[in-house]
Each structure stands twice: as structure tokens, then as C-alpha cells.
Amino acid sequence: MAEVDETMKRLQNQKGVQGIIIVNAEGIPIKSTLDNASTVQYAGNIHQLLMKARGIVRDIDPQNDLTFLRIRSKKNEVMIAPDKDYFLIVIQNPTE
């Protein structure tokens, strides 16, 4: 418990990180460092995308599984790490 909290704090303090969201398996955000509206938006949309991406990977080979998903856009980069019951979203601005 404490380990994860510490990791979250460190992540938050890293350079360029704009926000961190933890979403549970149903797509409901549990913890977030962003405001409510953005959180809900991110959580809802990314949940669908994640399901689709996972389906793609597993359809091709059922023994495979999705470990990481990165979406790089002009303004920032969204990184999604799925776990068994949760997934973690980090929004970072990679360039200085």
C-alpha cells in the first residue's frame, strides 16, 4: 500500500508529468490528480480504447497480453499500464 503511494508521489514529482489517474476494471476512476471533469473524460475514453487494444493483442495470440499502451500527441503523451483489475494512466509532457 505504502509502496504504491510512494511510487505515485515520485511519479507526480517527475519532470513533465501532468496527471495520474487510477481506474478500476469497470472504468470508474478511483484516484486522480486531475480535476473531476478531465478525469472522467480520460477514464471513459481510455477504458474503451484499452479493451479494444487488449482484444486485438489477444485475438492474434491468446497467450499474449497487453503490457503497455502509449499515445503520443502533439501536446503530450498518455501512457497506460493495464493490470489485472486496474489500470494506471499517466499524462506527461515529454518535451521541455
Binding site: M1, E3, V4, D5, T7, M8, R10, L11, Q14, K15, G16, V17, I22, N24, I30, K31, G55, R58, D59, P62, Q63, T67, F68, R70, E77, M79, A81, P82, D83, K84, D85, Y86, F87, L88, V90, Q92, P94
Partner: protein, 573 residues
């Protein structure tokens, strides 16, 4: 008129017949009539003169010629209605054959009579029956006849006819119906992808294995169950966030990769174009700076790369202030995450040296400032070392300067060797849960020490290195400036001794490629390269300050690097 009496010929004059074919009976009758008429007319003509011919109005008008024509009529016994060309299928020949003889009988009238011959069987029976009836039913006849008459009268009575009808009581009909409650319905939808099926099978397998295990170990399970229950409870309580640890780790690495993207690129592909111009001075590009807050105040005393995972390395932190007994730490960093160490271990005293096992890269041996050696297992989550040597189990009396893993011994126990400031070279074996030590050799005292104190005051060993090929040969360097070559199997004497430096030898290392060459460096500003067969060094390099460490390049047998107290590092070839 004379009538020719030709049999079979009938004059058309007299013929009341039409020329069309007529039944022959009629003809025959007609002929008879004609004959009669002929006789009659013949007779009549005698007494009645001139009887005119009576012509029916619908008789055909024919000319004289036609009237005089003689037409032959033949009377046969043929049935004109009988078929004349009957054909039957003959199976013998397999074709239709005409049947010549056709039945010519024509039946005009048929009546089946009910007359039975008196003397036949049936006749006799009937006569007997009649006789019986007449005897028995003489009286009844009258009644029967009367009734028959009455019945006949009723039936035929059309005026007094009465019809009566009755109907049974009809029960009033009622409709009763019942309906069962429809079963509760719920909509169910699911997808059955290939991977969902696969997941299900994997879980099924796990369940089966668990049930097998339960069956096998039911005796011990009582104790385990209690602990399991606790674990399960703990899991259900804290299931929200702890599972994220893995994902969080990955994310952290990715975030770091983004931040230090350039550095990572440099790490892989750095090529300084200025190298061609500079000549002797090259560039050493610092890539990462790894810092840990809690390690502030501690100096890095040891470094070791992990042989299996190339990006993982161990850092031992302690203190060089030999007077102060401070705490120490053992940190593991990975290059993928340069902002935070992967593993953190706190030790009771400063770490002086670290070594990671070559094959089992999770075993780490640590030599501490207070003389203890400890072995940590990275796979276990605990903060404590797996093995620890204590005062009773033969720990060193001085700081452990170097530890080195060895190959597993004959009992396949892991073992490592340490050299310390108390002058002992000790081999430690990990036997089950204990560290067992074996003194290999004791470093001899220097000449300056008076003889009677030689056993007490020992010379401190500072460095230890094992030969790459013949791993029973090792080199020990001492504070006195001597390098001893020893063998693991000889415990009393050294094979060779080299007078290396005037001051402490800080590091001695075998050449990884050349089997006879080793290098040593000391605080007397010198770096010397030796051949083990020759007593004096082959090469000597003099650097301006005391050299603290020297190492061979892993890819070339002729390059080594040395660092000095003034903070410079030099590469020599």
C-alpha cells in the same frame, strides 16, 4: 309383277328396307314377309287386277338402274357386336398376337331363376323346413299376418304421423383456463473470443491443480489454512491499490524514459566526432546521475554489475571514516529507472564490498565494515539478509575488504571467499540456513613486526582476485605492499610473494585474457603490470597521485583504467 325367287336376293323395289345394313332377323322376317307378300300378291294378282305400288314418303328415290342392281346379302351366324380384331399379348413370343376365334354368342335375355330341383340337397332341406314351420306356427301365422298388416298400416299412415323428440339436459359450459407464471427472464450477452476461452481453460487448470494439492497435503494444511485465511483477509481488505505495484513500476520506467530520452540515446549511440581531433584526451560523457535521498551522507564504497541483467547494478554505501561506525545501505539501480533504486537494503554497518553471484544473480554477498558478511536474496521481499555471520560464527575482526563468489562446492553449496583487515582469508559456505566458515589462509605479518607479535598483529588484506581459468589460484594484496599468490588447497603457505609497492596495494586483478598477467595499483602512485612467473613487474606506470583502483577492460587484453585520488580516471593501453 313377277318376283324372282332367288334365295338371298331381295329386289330393291319391293324392299321396304333401306340399303343400310339392318339386323338380319329383320331381314329374315322381311324375307318371310316378302315371300308371303309374294304369295299373297301372286294370289291377289290373280283376282285383283292392277294393284299399284305403295311407296312410303321417306323412301329413297333411286333410278331404274339402281333399282335393278342386284345386291348380295349374306346371312351368317356372326355376332355383329363381337369384336373382330382382338389382340392378346403372347408372353411366349413377346408380341401381340391377334386372336382369330372370337366368341360369337350374343346374349339377348338372361334371367336367374330361383327354382330348385326337388330332389337336390337344397330342395330337400327347404321342404323339410317348410314342413316344420307349417306344424309349429299354425296359430301364430294369423298374428304375424295381422301385425305385419298393422305395421304396414302404421308406416303407410301419413295423416296421423307424430314425431316426438327429447333432449337431455345440457350442462352449462364454463371456461376455465390457467396460466403458469413465466420464468424470470434476464438478458445475457457475452463475447466468446479466442482469448476468453483460453483464459477460462487456464483458470480451470489452476483450480484443478489446487484441488490436487489439497488432497495431497491435508495433514499440514491445518496450520497453513490459518495463515492462508489471514492472507486472504488481508488481500480482500487491501485489494484496491497494492495490485497496482507492477503497473506503477512500468509506468515509472516509461516516464523516466521520456524524461531521459536523450540520455538513453546517447548511451546507445554516442559517437563524439571530436575524438578524431583530440589525440590523447578522449571524452567521457556522464550519462546518469543516480541519487537517493536516504543515502545522503554515505559514500559509495562498492559497485558491482549484475551479470545476468545488464542494466542492473549494485551499489554499496558506507563510510570511509574508519573511526565512525555508521549505518550502511545496499542499493540496486537499473538504468531503466534512474530516479529511484529498485531494491533497497539497510545494513547495520557500512558496506565495504559487494559481489553478485555469476549464475544465481539474485544472491548478493556483502562485506561489512564491522567484519560481518551477509548474503542477501533479491527474490525475497524481506529487508534482512538471508545469511549473516555473527561474532560466534567466525566473523572477521576487521572490516571486510573484498568478497568474491566461488563456484559451488562438491555438495553444491554456494560459497564465497572474503578477505579482511584482520588478515584472514576465509571461505564461507552456505549450508542450509547457516554460514560455515573455513579459514583458508592467514596473511603473514610483515618483517617490521617483531617475531613474538606476529601472531597477534596481522597484516590487513586489501584486495583479492581469483584467476579466471584456474580458480584455485588467487592473489591477495596487503596493506604492507605485498602481493601473495596462493592456492585454495594450500592453507599454510603462499605459492609466491611479490614485493609490489611501498605502500598499501589498493587493488590487484588478473588479466581476463592473458593467464599469467595481473595488474596492481597502490598508494605509492604506481600501477604495475606483472607476469606471475617473474618476480619483478613488466610495466610500471607512474601517476601523480595515489591510485585507488584499477581494472582491466573486458574487451581487450591491453587496456586498463585507473582512478586516482585527484578524481581523474585514466585509460591506458
Amino acid at each position: 309383277m313377277s318376283v324372282p325367287h332367288k334365295v338371298g336376293t331381295v329386289k330393291s323395289k319391293q324392299a321396304t328396307n333401306v340399303k343400310a345394313p339392318v339386323a338380319k332377323v329383320v331381314k329374315a322376317a322381311g324375307k318371310k314377309k316378302d315371300e308371303e307378300e309374294a304369295t299373297d300378291t301372286a294370289e291377289g294378282e290373280e283376282w285383283m287386277p292392277g294393284k299399284t305400288l305403295v311407296k312410303p314418303p321417306d323412301q329413297l328415290d333411286l333410278t331404274e338402274e339402281e333399282l335393278n342392281e342386284e345386291i348380295t346379302r349374306v346371312l351368317t351366324a356372326n355376332n355383329p357386336n363381337a369384336p373382330q380384331n382382338v389382340v392378346r399379348y403372347g408372353f411366349k413370343e413377346g408380341c401381340y398376337k391377334p386372336i382369330i376365334f372370337v366368341d360369337q354368342m350374343a346374349i339377348h335375355f338372361e334371367l336367374e331363376g330361383n327354382l330348385v330341383h326337388k330332389e337336390s340337397d337344397e330342395g330337400r332341406r327347404l321342404m323339410a323346413k317348410q314342413a316344420e314351420r307349417e306344424e309349429g306356427t299354425g296359430a301364430e301365422k294369423l298374428d304375424n299376418v295381422a301385425k305385419a298388416g298393422e305395421k304396414e298400416r302404421k308406416l303407410t299412415n301419413q295423416f296421423n304421423f307424430n314425431e316426438r323428440a327429447s333432449q337431455t339436459l345440457n350442462n352449462p359450459p364454463r371456461d376455465i383456463s390457467c396460466q403458469t407464471e413465466p420464468p424470470p427472464r434476464a438478458n445475457f450477452s457475452a463475447t466468446a473470443n479466442q482469448w476468453e476461452i483460453y483464459d477460462f481453460y487456464v483458470e480451470e487448470l489452476k483450480r484443478r491443480e489446487k484441488s490436487k494439492e489439497k488432497q495431497e497435503g491435508q495433514v499440514l494444511n491445518k496450520e497453513e489454512d490459518k495463515s492462508k485465511k489471514k492472507i486472504i483477509q488481508a488481500e480482500t481488505q487491501s485489494d484496491d491499490i497494492t495490485q497496482l505495484a507492477h503497473a506503477a513500476k512500468i509506468i515509472e520506467r516509461m516516464v523516466n524514459q521520456n524524461i531521459f530520452d536523450e540520455v538513453a540515446q546517447d548511451f546507445m549511440y554516442f559517437e563524439d566526432a571530436a575524438d578524431e581531433f583530440r589525440g590523447e584526451k578522449g571524452t567521457l560523457l556522464p550519462l546518469w546521475k543516480l541519487q537517493y535521498d536516504k543515502a545522503k551522507g554515505l559514500s559509495v564504497t562498492a559497485l558491482c554489475w549484475n551479470p545476468k541483467y545488464n542494466d542492473l547494478f549494485a551499489v554499496g554505501l558506507g563510510s570511509y571514516e574508519f573511526t565512525q561506525e555508521e549505518r550502511g545501505m545496499l542499493l540496486f539501480y537499473t538504468l531503466k529507472n534512474s530516479s529511484y533504486p529498485e531494491f533497497i537494503f539497510n545494513t547495520t554497518s557500512g558496506v565495504m564490498c559487494v559481489d553478485i553471484h555469476e549464475q544465481l544473480s539474485y544472491l548478493v554477498a556483502v562485506g561489512l565494515h564491522d567484519g560481518c558478511v551477509a548474503v542477501y536474496n533479491l527474490k525475497k521481499k524481506s529487508d534482512q539478509p538471508v545469511y549473516n555471520s555473527t561474532a560466534s560464527s567466525g566473523k572477521h575482526r576487521g572490516a571486510v575488504m573484498q568478497v568474491k563468489w566461488q563456484k559451488d562446492d562438491l555438495d553444491s553449496n554456494h560459497n564465497f571467499i572474503s578477505v579482511s583487515a584482520d588478515g584472514r582469508v576465509v571461505s564461507w559456505t552456505l549450508v542450509k540456513h547457516e554460514l560455515v566458515f573455513t579459514d583458508i589462509i592467514k596473511l603473514p605479518a610483515t618483517d617490521k613486526v617483531p617475531d613474538d607479535l606476529k601472531d597477534v598483529i596481522a597484516t590487513a588484506g586489501t584486495s583479492l582476485d581469483f584467476h579466471k581459468q584456474k580458480d584455485y589460484h588467487f592473489l591477495v594484496a596487503t596493506e604492507a605492499g605485498k602481493i601473495h599468490k596462493g592456492s585454495k588447497y594450500y592453507s599454510s603457505k603462499f605459492l609466491e610473494t611479490y614485493d609490489a609497492h611501498f605502500m598499501t596495494v589498493s587493488r590487484v586483478r588478473w588479466n581476463p585474457f592473458h593467464p599469467n598477467v595481473f595488474i596492481s595499483c597502490g598508494w605509492d602512485w604506481m600501477v604495475k603490470i606483472w607476469d606471475q612467473t617473474i618476480k619483478s613487474p613488466i610495466f610500471t606506470f607512474e601517476l601523480k597521485t595515489s591510485v585507488t583502483d584499477v581494472a582491466w577492460a573486458p574487451y581487450s587484453s591491453t587496456i586498463f583504467a585507473a582512478i586516482t585520488n585527484d578524481g581523474k580516471s585514466r585509460d591506458h593501453a
